[in-house]
């Protein structure tokens, strides 16, 4: 078994302008996703949604504090899931099921120190 972090990158403007019923749909999709991970042969270890990058603060080189995200991109990191899966194919099956209608996800293996 290995751990993978699934990073969700989406267009923040689309969320900012989304109608309340769209938000409701998206939350419902995430609930369905979470319930379905076991069925894909993986285990959900954690996950969170993040506040938008307008609330981000970056600290460079351990001292310089700046307002905003570390890297400005059109599609910003907006949330993540941490999953345990036997291999990349399983992790990718989970990644495909992650709701991300305004963007996509990146799958990163978690480094193991033994």
């Amino acid at each position: 078994m290995a751990q993978y972090l699934i990073l969700i990158y989406e267009d923040e403007a689309s969320y900012a302008t989304a109608a309340p019923e769209v938000w409701g749909e998206i939350i419902e999709e995430h609930n369905r996703f979470a319930a379905g991970v076991d069925g894909l042969g993986a285990k959900l270890l954690g996950g969170s949604a993040l506040q938008p990058t307008t609330t981000a603060t970056s600290v460079r080189g351990g001292s310089e504090v700046t307002d905003g995200p570390f890297v400005e991109t059109k599609e910003a990191l907006g949330g993540y899931y941490l999953v345990e899966a036997p291999d990349l194919d399983t992790a990718l099956a989970v990644a495909r099921a992650v709701p991300a209608r305004f963007g996509g996800v990146e799958v990163r293996p978690v480094m193991v120190f033994d």
Binding site: A2, P86, D87, L88, D89, A91, L92, V107, P109
Partner: protein, 422 residues
């Protein structure tokens, strides 16, 4: 194992080279099962071939070289594993959780040497969609065809250190991200085979029309692509897309000898000596096309092969069934929408219904962004304009095509056409 009478050094070298070409993928795939590490497996297989070079001089060439090499490589792998502690391992072991029991030395005589045939595992791992296309291509040539890093670098016109870095990164990703050494389940297999076919097709087209440089056909890449495609056909005998690609490669390559004249000049289909096309390759390809077209919808390779087959079966250029070719391009455009397909269809329309109709079809593509900078578009336009007698416009179009083409043989052709216009 029975052995032939003791051969001389050159016969042994030839036998080893032949085994390298035929058996490398099988031996490596069977050794990866033991090592679960691609680099260690490669080293052991290389050593097995080196051992063959000396041992076969004493013992003769074994009746089944693949079995001999597999036994030696796997024995070597077990030794390495015994002596190399787990702590010294640089990369995690490959994931392979669904292995059937290893029949090892059980000699079943079924052509698999008693060893499991893991070549499909190896090829779908090399062409995993999580690897980018250059990495897939490099791994396939290195691990399935047994080319050295230097040879792979040369085939793709990059430096050896660049290619070595590409291979190292790809192998590291396979191990660290845990790309499994596994044949995917039937539901996912077609998609994964598609990626493998795309790699084989790219190898063939790269070899068939070298993007830059002097020689039109880089023979070794074409041979490797054909060999890989035949291997896939053996591994997936009922897959229509595999049949379609093999058909396409065979029928296209059947014309190889006639594609350039004695002076190296590019010859059009129109000018080629059809009696010198490889009739056996065409016949094999045409039989495969029939099989491949039975799938619904047919694969893009099957349709491309069908188009190539219409050309191959026409006794003369004039007798070409252009209406059939236009129709096939139409279906191809639905299965695999691409501006290049539309361009080829327009060219076919130019022969089926005359250059004015062809030009009208071509002009619809003039603003297609994907064709901007594509040399075949102005070249096709130039040819239609020439046939319509609009020579000044044809001259401009040939000049534009020349600017966009790097292949020396194709450039010479275009320059020749331009000169003919005076």
């Amino acid at each position: 194992m029975t052995a032939d009478p003791v051969p001389d050094a050159s016969a042994v070298a030839a036998a080893v080279a032949d085994a390298h070409r035929r058996e490398w993928a099988f031996v490596l795939a069977a050794t990866v099962r033991v090592t679960r590490d691609l680099d260690v497996a490669e080293e052991c297989v290389q050593e097995a071939f080196a051992t063959a070079l000396t041992d076969w001089r004493d013992t003769g060439v074994p009746s089944r070289p693949g079995a001999w090499l597999t036994t030696v490589a796997r024995r070597r792998a077990l030794n390495v594993l015994r002596h190399q502690g787990v702590a010294r391992r640089s990369l995690p072991l490959l994931v392979e959780d669904d292995l059937a029991p290893d029949p090892a030395d059980d000699d079943t005589g079924d052509g698999t040497h008693g060893y499991p045939d893991d070549r499909l595992r190896l090829v779908v791992t090399c062409c995993h969609p999580a690897l980018d296309r250059p990495a897939q291509v490099a791994l396939t040539l290195r691990l399935l065809c047994g080319l050295t890093t230097a040879e792979v670098a040369r085939a793709f016109l990059v430096s050896e250190p660049t290619m070595a870095a590409r291979l190292t990164r790809a192998k590291k990703k396979i191990a660290v991200a845990r790309i499994p050494y596994r044949v995917p389940p039937p539901t996912e297999l077609p998609e994964r085979v598609d990626a493998v076919l795309a790699v084989v097709h790219l190898l063939f087209t790269t070899g068939h029309t070298v993007p830059a440089g002097e020689e039109l056909v880089r023979r070794d890449l074409v041979e490797r692509a054909l060999q890989l495609c035949r291997m896939l056909r053996t591994l997936l005998p009922r897959d229509p897309a595999v049949a379609g690609l093999l058909a396409l490669l065979l029928v296209t390559d059947a014309r190889r000898a006639t594609r350039t004249g004695e002076d190296g000049r590019l010859l059009l289909l129109e000018e080629q000596d059809r009696s010198r096309w490889d009739a056996a390759a065409v016949a094999e390809g045409v039989a495969l096309v029939r099989e491949a077209l039975r799938a619904r919808p047919p694969s893009r390779y099957a349709l491309q092969a069908a188009i190539a087959a219409v050309h191959a079966e026409a006794p003369t250029w004039e007798a070409t069934d252009w209406a059939e070719i236009v129709a096939l391009y139409g279906v191809l455009g639905q299965v695999w929408p691409s501006p290049v397909v539309a361009l080829n269809r327009a060219v076919a329309v130019g022969f089926a219904s005359g250059p004015a109709a062809g030009l009208a079809a071509l002009d619809e593509l003039a603003t297609e962004p994907q064709l901007a900078g594509y040399g075949y578009l102005p070249a096709a336009r130039a040819d239609l304009l020439r046939r319509l007698g609009r020579l000044e416009e044809a001259r401009l179009a040939y000049t534009e095509a020349l600017h966009l083409t790097a292949n020396a043989v194709e450039r010479a052709f275009l320059a020749g056409r331009l000169a003919e216009l005076g």
